[in-house]
């Protein structure tokens, strides 16, 4: 493509199929703690 570069593909869709094991880190999004955007967490199952 001339005008567009794709930085990331449809990764969310792909993850729906195998997700939900629940082993990943619990997150807290509060500013007063180890606040954690979920998007920067790791999947335990990869």
């Amino acid at each position: 493509m001339k005008h567009i570069q794709t930085l990331n593909g449809a990764t969310l869709k792909a993850s729906a199929a195998k997700g939900g094991c629940g082993e990943c880190q619990t997150s807290c999004q509060s500013a007063c703690k180890t606040s954690c955007t979920v998007a920067n967490q790791k999947c335990e199952n990869q």
Binding site: H3, I4, A16, G19, Q25, C32, T37
Partner: protein, 479 residues
């Protein structure tokens, strides 16, 4: 839903439901910004008319490229692939797998913004948790975690090092249960650093898989907000100790985390200062609270805060030695979409335990009587309260449902919603604005790191900005 935005001079589009992110040129950016929904085969003439600055053939070419993305499931995707009901059944099971253990409701600092009322959570009595209570909490979570293997325990306070003996006994006890119950404990401690000595540093570096070191940045900023009980600054006491701890940390996780308030909206200087002190993993986060809180970021501060985040992102491009927590978004490898429906596990997967062994949805609800869920001694656990939290997700929270950032942010903080809007389901709009801005910067940084898009930010360019328009107005008035 597609979110087009500019950050750091990049033209970007995030396709919300698929997770795809595209780096555009100015033409496709301008074009896509005008497209309300799924695209047809050909460029509508009225769209072309709105963009007279571009050659018609070029626009058609841009349209075809965008259409190709749409056909490939990378643009204007819907989220019917996901059944929110089924997805939420999982967290509703109330399998508790993380504890915030308030080993000390006491503190040796008197931070002015402290949500825990400088340690005692507004109770007026300062106390530490006995090892017996902590062990009961561990037994409780082992039972409550069912088949979940990984269990997290965060030693929190007040200041947890004021109850170091309880911390040590808890770790030892939990480890002794791992094999028999097929569990793996991961410990984290959040400390203000005052009581760190060589032995404690060694202990933390050995036993804690993560450590959060609290300080705010520049000396004057830190000492203004984080005085000792006697009103002296804490910077000189803690900095050498934190440096020592980090030097011995090896590859284990740590974060130096600070808070910025209305008093230091130039917080990029604090992030850089923490980097200058040798700390690689840095998180500096906005103080949050109701509109009359003297320190919390307010709506009127947002333009300045957002500008500061852009500034910080640009500065960090030159400072590869600093890993700023909130710009660290892994677009491809993050958690599954089910996890992203609700980031916060309060009241379901995650609870806080007070020194008395009482259970609250999380550390921020401690002391709010109506949210007391039970007690580790009698095993009580209020499923009605738990259910209320389990029902929170990006589909049930009205603002999140409409928000482009929902799969990155995962719904925000119930406690801050309650604090600011009196309702755990009502998103704290000020916090949301900052979250969205951080995400935009993070995505732009990803694009730049991948060598994509426009040349990294040069000088201010009004045409490249879809934000507030204030600078264009300012320029006009200068003519």
């Amino acid at each position: 839903m597609v979110h087009t935005f500019t950050a750091l001079g990049q033209y970007l589009a995030a396709d919300v439901n698929s997770g795809a992110v595209h780096v555009l040129d100015k033409l496709t950016y301008d074009l896509l910004s005008l497209i309300p929904g799924p695209m047809g085969e050909t460029l509508p003439p009225e769209l072309a008319e709105q963009l007279p600055q571009y050659d018609r053939r070029e626009l058609e070419e841009g349209w075809r490229e965008l259409l190709e993305l749409q056909d490939g499931g990378l643009l204007f995707t819907d989220d019917t692939y996901l059944d929110p009901e089924a997805a939420m059944a999982l967290p509703r099971a109330a399998v508790v797998k993380a504890l915030c253990l308030h080993v000390s409701h006491d503190c040796n600092l008197r931070c002015r913004y402290c949500f825990a009322s400088t340690g005692d959570f507004g109770t007026g009595h300062r106390m530490t948790m006995t090892p017996e209570t902590a062990k009961r909490a561990i037994d409780w979570v082992v039972a409550k975690s069912g088949k979940r293997r990984n269990i997290e325990v965060d030693f929190f306070g007040g200041e947890p090092l004021m109850a170091l003996d309880t911390v040590k006994q808890t770790v030892e006890y939990a480890r002794s249960l791992e094999k028999e119950h097929d569990k793996v404990f991961r410990f984290t401690i959040t400390t203000n650093g005052v009581l760190l000595d060589d032995d404690t540093i060694d202990y933390i570096n050995r036993e804690m898989s993560n450590v959060v070191l609290s300080m705010d940045g520049r000396r004057e900023v830190n000492d203004h907000m984080r005085p000792t009980v006697n009103g002296k600054g804490s910077y000189d006491v803690i900095v050498p100790k934190f440096q020592k701890l980090v030097a011995g940390r090896g590859t284990k996780d740590y974060y130096v985390r600070g808070t910025f308030t209305r008093d230091n909206l130039d917080f990029s200087a604090d992030v850089l200062h923490l980097g200058d002190l040798g700390f690689r993993h840095v998180s500096v986060e906005p103080c949050s609270g109701p509109a009359d809180d003297p320190f919390a970021i307010r709506k009127e501060d947002l333009p300045q805060v957002e500008e500061e985040y852009e500034k910080l992102a640009r500065l960090l491009m030159e400072r590869r030695d600093i890993n700023f927590f909130h710009f660290n978004v892994d677009l491809a490898q993050g958690p599954c979409v089910i996890k992203r429906l609700r980031g916060c596990g309060a009241g379901c997967e995650y609870v806080a335990i007070t020194p008395d062994g009482e259970i609250y949805p999380c550390h921020q609800f401690v002391g709010k009587e109506e949210y007391r869920m039970g007690n580790v001694f009698d095993g009580s656990f209020d499923m009605e309260i738990s259910g209320r939290f389990a029902d929170q997700n990006i589909y049930t929270r009205p603002a999140c449902r409409e928000c482009w950032a929902r799969f990155y942010c995962s719904g925000g903080c119930s406690a801050s919603n309650l604090l600011v809007n009196g309702d755990i389901t009502k998103s704290n709009e000020v916090a949301c604005e900052m979250e969205r801005k951080r995400l935009e910067c993070a995505i732009a940084l990803n694009a730049i790191a991948a060598g994509m898009g426009e040349a990294p930010y040069t000088e201010r360019d009004n045409t490249a900005c879809n934000q507030c328009g204030a600078c264009a107005a300012e320029e006009k008035s200068n003519i």
